[in-house]
Amino acid sequence: MFREVMRKLWQDKFARISLIVLGVIYFALFFADFLAPYTKDFSDRTMAYVPPSKIFIIDENYHLSRPYTYNYVRDFDSENLKIIYNLDRSQKHYIKLFGKGLPYKFLGIIPMKRHLITTDEDGRLFLLGADINGRDVFSRILFGGRISMTIGFLALFVLFPIGLLYGGISGYFGGVVDVVMMRFAEAVMSIPSFYLLIILASILPSGMTSAQRFMLIVIILALIGWAGFARVVRGMVLSVKNQEFVQAARSIGASRLRIIVKHILPQTTSFVIVAMTLSVPSYILSESGLSFLGLGIQQPDASWGNMLKEAQEYTNIIYRPWLLTPGFLIFIAVLAFNVIGDTIRDVLDPKSRGV
């Protein structure tokens, strides 16, 4: 089944592009330490809000040159009353491949200093400009992506076992158990999910480490989606629970839990795969929305959502459009996941016709 799905994905033009795009994104995130010119927390306060570095390959005498960049200096334009950034043309900063920069641990273990592209120590290579604290937006996008692009998957791995078991038990046992369990699930579904999400996020105590906060956000995201999923699983369990293979298992004395987990739930596999791939994007969107509001991942940690927090002040963003880049990345990632999810669904569930 897996090979069949992969083959179909590769045959479909859009799905293939999506796979490649996601592959590139995850590759970049995995090697973020090496690919990013700076570390996540590097900040140069004199460089607040500088625009993306301009890279020159033709020097002032119109000769071809090694690529170099100039630093920005902040100036105040007293006529128009606004801050402007000028290039400091007195000092060239050459761009180096595999140059030495800030130390980091490659893959979290091997201490290293080399980065893919750097410039000399006084130079600042901000490929996508800097944020309010003078931190490199490009580097932070890479590190923030690690959070934004994994949190959805982690939430799914918490949510699906819960939903499967809940729906399985409810459907198999039936009767009062079923009524009570389903009423509870329906009640959870009756609270608008985003309302529930922000309330759960807001009661998280402050003063947690970023790892703890990350885990709790994963759990909160999982708490939102399980009910709807459990209901569908219950429906599927109801339709198979009286079939012969279940009766056979019962007659040889298998325990009820064993029947549910080993015999009934495997029947839902293709639905589960389809539902999972189709719900990854919605969790990426939920996390980014939550962080955008300041209730999710907190500074100084980066996520694509909280990097967009500065975009809340539109007067600010008009002059600094490079701060919007994470939004486009969320869009691209979600689009790619949707296309792949659609294709997988068409393969595993040909009757669904694109819903």
Binding site: S190, L295, V334, N338, G354
Partner: protein
């Protein structure tokens, strides 16, 4: 008569649901380590007497079950307590809920008016360029984060000056004529409606397309064709009615999705709706307000589903016979 009986039954069914919702919300909020009266205590304009009254009303010195009982009693009486600014929660809600309903109902109306025809058109042109282009467009619509889209539109509004930036009314709203007021509100609604419309159109169009494809494949449509009916009659008399019915069930879900999507959109556009109210309440840990708006959100959702069910009974005679 029978329909009325069914409606009554459905309303009675939603009461236990609401009780469970209130229990869940109440425990989540009370489990938080926040002092529910902290803001009130800090507010100098709130008298000691009011504080005492609130403590008693919430039963804060008693165990949590008693607290819930007290809360439920005053909720049924319609007393929702006061916000941390000392205003009445009920006034605040009365101000905000109509705005959210206005926004969501316009969006639902627009998505239905365009999504259903587009779904039919896509199904009739199945796998042809028109259908493919629509599929690509809806994929894009589904992938834009609502808040990001809202920010982009705000930038657009600032740059062009064509649309007001946020809010629901201009500052000189009260001086305008009735027509001017309607025009003013419409002008303010354009951008938030655009965001939510893009968000929900995709799902509706795809569902309609799939239903229509299913129906066009069914035996009775083949029979109608064999009988020699015109294509127009087949599609609009036989296929459409059956394809639309499952969509009505979706109406409830759509409403739920819109309430959630509206929260972020309202926040970015500074739109005075329920979603932004709950966000502000959450950020100030204004417990009374959070609890009340959660309940209102749930009631609106349950009502939305109820309306969808009733509509379904009216349009689908099969359900009328089997269910009532």
């Amino acid at each position: 008569m029978q329909i009325l009986k069914y409606i009554l039954k459905r309303i009675l069914q939603s009461i236990p649901l609401l009780i469970i919702v209130s229990l869940i919300s109440f425990f989540i909020i009370r489990l938080s380590p926040v002092d529910p009266l902290a803001e009130l205590r800090l507010n100098p304009s709130v008298s000691q007497e009011t504080l005492q009254k609130e403590t008693e009303r919430l039963g804060l010195d008693k165990p949590i079950i008693v607290q819930y009982g007290k809360w439920a009693k005053s909720f049924i009486k319609g007393d929702l307590g006061i916000t941390s600014n000392g205003e009445k929660v009920s006034t605040k809600l009365k101000e905000r809920i109509p705005n959210t309903l206005l926004l969501t109902s316009i969006v639902i109306l627009l998505t239905w008016l365009t999504g259903v025809p587009l779904g039919i058109a896509a199904a009739l042109n199945w796998k042809m360029p028109f259908d493919r282009i629509l599929t690509v467009l809806t994929s894009i619509g589904m992938a834009i984060p609502s808040f990001f889209f809202a920010v982009l539109l705000l930038i657009f509004a600032v740059k062009t000056g064509w649309f007001p930036i946020g809010g629901l009314t201009s500052s000189d709203f009260l001086e305008k004529s009735l027509f001017g007021q309607v025009l003013d509100i419409t002008h303010h609604l354009v951008l938030p409606v655009t965001v939510l419309y893009t968000l929900s159109l995709a799902g509706l169009q795809r569902q309609m397309r799939a239903n229509m494809l299913d129906v066009l494949d069914s035996d009775y449509v083949k029979f109608a064709r064999a009988k020699g009916l015109s294509e127009f009659e087949i599609i609009y008399k036989h296929a459409l009615r059956n394809a639309v019915n499952p969509m009505i069930t979706l109406l409830g879900f759509e409403f739920a999705g819109l309430l959630s999507g509206a929260a972020l959109t309202e926040y970015v556009f500074q739109y005075p709706g329920l979603g932004r109210l709950i966000l502000e309440a959450v950020m100030r840990s204004d417990i009374n307000l959070v609890m009340a708006s959660l309940m209102m959100g749930a009631i609106m959702l349950i009502l939305g589903n109820l309306i969808a069910d009733i509509l379904l009974i009216i349009t689908d005679p099969r359900i009328r016979r089997s269910n009532v």
